[in-house]
Amino acid sequence: MTDDHEIRRSVEELRLTFKSGKTRSGDWRKAQLQAILRLVHENEDTLFRLLELELGKHPVESYRDEVGVIKKSADHALACIDQWMSPKKGRLPLVFFPASGKVLSEPLGVVLIIGSWNFPITLTLDPLIGAISAGNAVVLKPSELSPNCASFLANVLPSYLDPKAVKVIEGGREVANRLLEYKWDKIFFTGSPKVGRIVMAAAAKNLTPVTLELGGKCPVIFDSLPNSDLKVAVKRVASGKWGACAGQACIGIDYVIVEHKFASTLIEQLKKTIKRFYGDDVKNLKNHSKIINKNHFDRLRSFLEDPAVANCIVYGGSFDDTSLIIEPTILLDPPLDAEIMNEEIFGPLLPIITVDNIEESVEFVNSKPKPLALYAFTKNENFKKRILAETSSGSVTFNDAMIQFVCDDLPFGGVGQSGFGRYHGKYSFDTFSHEKAVLERSFYFELEPRHPPWSRFKLEFLRAAYNYNYVGMLLLFLGLKRVSKS
């Protein structure tokens, strides 16, 4: 438990470090990124063990979704950081001549990153890579719901990264609330909309900008596909639903929309794939994560307590209290007013909603808050265009799921209820930077009509200047053009 005094001391130390200018240098930033690479490399086995212990993640899953992601992000940042840090030129109109304009990215200062428990390494270290690349001092607060990973970060991070500039503060809600009372230059939060609101309200007191990475019910629009494509598509759906932390992922699939006539084909294929990927014995599921804790386990079970919902189970439905594992579960057409269709599921339950025509899925998706991700499996180009133009979500992925997360060139972030602000690649750098506009002028060539006392001539001259009418300006200057009288 971190006490008030310790938090204050940490924050004060970070302010001093930032003020010293140490974190601004390119060399410092690179050294820290390299240290992150070393950290995940040298502790790979420990991380695999902790993630397995805490969430039942298979090492391959842990590598794909956590260790590997951090490695890739840090590598990318190292390769690009010089370019990111260099000022961008701004083009200037001739009336400003002689002058130069540029946009300089500068660090915001001391920032707070609040991580989440479902990807306890990725969702703390990935934003950290952005914050460091941009030259900030950082407090990292990992989630108390994955305490082993949190302690690992608290114990191990200081021996790799500069402990005067990057601090890990462990704790639960109380510590989070205390941290939120401090003045930060940015708060980066990953979690639920409910806590997102609290974070933003706290940030408002200090005018602190926030990035909120939330979730939402990410739909899959599943068009009727020929058999060969169906197999690939279903593998991707199964992996996007159950393969990443057993559905406990912000971009994980929440539900599927399919045409009525195609539903049974889809369900049969899903069942086959589940058996192949995970087996069919809840006591002996392979390659499948567990639910983080009893609370979440019970929350998921309560979705099925409504008999109208329970009756819709077409596959699975077993819960193992001791291991906190829930079998991959498929529900066909649960009532639309049931909780399971109105809250983010965040677990291995998959409702399938049928429609007469797949085009109706657009209205269905639009009747719900904007999700973080939308997935559509279709070969119909017109339908793709329609989905893009008529729905709104953080991202859209066609014919796959989850994979957009590893594209460094794509901004990752929500819209509406799924949050705001974005990161990954250069966007992470930008999220933690202030883009300072810098305009430099010389003392020569003063445009006198800028200044009072005002006259008709000056007005006409400036009209020409604003229209970039250089000939007009010249004529006026030389007295060759009459000033209109009005």
Binding site: K72, N287, Y466
Partner: protein
């Protein structure tokens, strides 16, 4: 009574016409369920009870705009460009009315009205019209080996229904410039102009009603109550220009609905003046930027000057000289200088002047006239750091001059205070310039001039820290009102089995290679070499 040529309503007001009007918004929106309101409206027709812009009225308003937005009307290029063209036409047609309103609200000289407000938004409109097609185009994004084969793009999409709350000091510019961004990005907009510039507020309501699409763009006039009612609504973006105190209220209200905000605030923007400079040009630029720019009532206006002890007298002489040149011997009666915006603001500035801590330090000006709301250009030498004038944003014609031993100490002085919206430096010293640019944090930095960065549409305009968050102007305005949707296209081919269970050590090796982007590693892993 359903036929009205003026779509806006001014709240609160005793005019029964306004009352009629806001009810009619409801009637148009959902006429079927509003028979009772119609009856009420009819009944209250003769009463003099003021129409209140209450939650019901706000619900009606956002409901109508949301239905327009959902119908997709505002998304098309044609709609966006037609609205921007109408705005341009409005500015051409109504230049005189606009200048009159600015004169009535601020005694703003016509030249200032033209350069700083009308011409600025005309140029914003033109830039947006010229670039809109480019801005709207999806931007290609690179994909990596891990997702091969695939293609990716970033599609800008409108956020939805947005709220713009504007300020009184540049009541046209600060209202219309964000609205241009909101329209260019394809949003439906509510504009709440400042009640402290009443002439411009009602003119905007009238003109935007006449020139723009009323089903997507609305003006709500009013003060604190109306703003509070508006802030209870769910918006997809709130763009606020004003002060830090209200900004905190706006952001806290936005938090309830997870609404992103742009906060354009101000702060004490410093001018650091070195001694190795072209004094004549420097002093003209400072005088023009301070008193020739709405008489100091500008968010990017110079707030105070820092210079060395030795140089201060030289600089002050030159400033005085240019003040006379620009505004004459009697600036209180100069037609070329704006007046103070309103009573409350005048009283605040008077308090800064009457502060005991600066008595005897006023070395130029100091005259005030409550009846005409005029304050003369005033220079104060060595105002103590704890004086009111040095503690809050001045936002008026008072210019304190802080002296330091060495010019470099100025940077320290600036950095010991909250981050300002702008920081200015006049120098010919390259090292000082570099130190200033790299170590002073401010929304924008201008070397050897003041306020000019505001006019460059290729530079983002916005604050940092206490001076706000988010940026606009040019493409940045479009971005401020857009969501950048990440889109990834995959085919059904090229599936890496390593992604899926059952997991094996070989799959781990392949994944490592894939995420590494190392082709050699992938081949090795595929062939089973580790």
């Amino acid at each position: 009574m359903l036929v009205h040529d003026n779509f806006h309503t001014r709240y609160p007001t005793n005019h029964s016409s306004s009352h009629r009007h806001h009810r009619s918004i409801c009637l148009q929106t959902h006429a079927s369920i509003n028979r009772s309101i119609l009856t009420t409206t009819m009944a209250s027709e003769d009463s003099t009870a003021p129409a209140v812009f209450d939650t019901d009225a706000a619900n009606c308003l956002t409901k109508e705009l949301r239905s327009t937005f959902l119908a997709g009307k505002t998304k098309s290029y044609e709609w966006r460009s037609s609205q921007l063209k109408s705005l341009l036409k409005m500015l051409d047609d109504c230049e005189k009315q606009i200048c009159d309103a600015l004169f009535s609200d601020l005694a703003k000289p016509e030249m200032e009205a033209y350069i700083h407000e009308i011409a600025m938004i005309k140029s914003s409109c033109k830039v947006a019209l010229k670039k809109l097609k480019d801005w709207m185009k999806p931007e290609k994004a690179k994909t990596n080996l891990g997702t091969f084969p695939s293609s990716a793009e970033i599609v800008p999409e409108p956020l939805g229904v947005v709220l713009v709350i504007s300020a009184w000091n540049y009541p046209l510019l600060l209202s219309v410039d964000p609205v241009i961004g909101a329209i260019a990005a394809g949003n439906a907009v509510v504009l709440k102009p400042s009640e402290l510039a009443p002439a411009m507020s009602s003119l905007l309501a009238k003109l935007l009603g006449k020139y723009l699409d009323n089903s997507a763009i609305k003006v709500v006039e009013g003060a604190v109550n109306e703003t509070s009612v508006l802030l209870e609504q769910k918006w997809d973006k709130i763009f606020y220009t004003g002060n830090g105190r209200v900004a905190r209220i706006v952001m806290a209200a936005a938090a309830k609905n997870l609404t992103p905000v742009v906060l354009e605030l101000g702060g004490k923007s410093p001018v650091l003046v070195d001694s190795n400079i072209d004094l004549a040009v420097t002093s003209r630029r400072i005088v023009g930027g301070k008193w020739g720019t709405n008489n100091g009532q500008a968010c990017v206006g110079p707030d105070y000057i820092i210079t060395t002890k030795q140089y201060a007298p030289v600089l002050i002489d030159s400033l005085k000289h240019n003040l006379v040149k620009f505004f004459g011997e009697d600036p209180m009666n100069s037609p070329d200088i704006s007046r103070i915006g309103h009573d409350r603001h005048f009283a605040r500035l008077k308090k800064l002047l009457d502060d005991d801590k600066i008595s005897g330090k006023i070395i130029h000006g100091g005259q005030t006239d409550k009846s005409s709301l005029k304050i003369a250009p005033t220079i104060v030498l060595d105002a103590p750091e704890d004086s009111l004038m040095m503690s809050e944003e001045i936002f008026g014609p008072l210019l304190p001059i802080v002296t330091v031993e060495k010019i470099e100490d100025g940077i320290e002085f600036i950095n010991s205070r909250p981050k300002p919206l702008a920081a200015y430096l006049f120098t010919n010293n390259k090292q000082l310039k570099e130190a200033f640019v790299s170590s002073v944090s401010a929304g924008g930095v201008v070397i050897n001039d003041v306020t000019l960065h505001l006019m460059v549409d290729t530079l983002p305009f916005g604050g940092v820290g206490e001076s706000g968050m988010g940026a606009y102007h040019g493409k940045f305005s479009f971005d401020a009102f857009s969501h950048k949707k990440a889109v990834l296209y995959r085919s059904f081919y090229g599936d890496a089995p390593a992604r899926y269970p059952p997991y094996t050590p070989g799959k781990l090796r392949l994944l490592k290679a894939l995420l590494d982007g190392s082709l050699f590693g992938i081949i090795r892993a595929l062939f089973g070499f580790s």
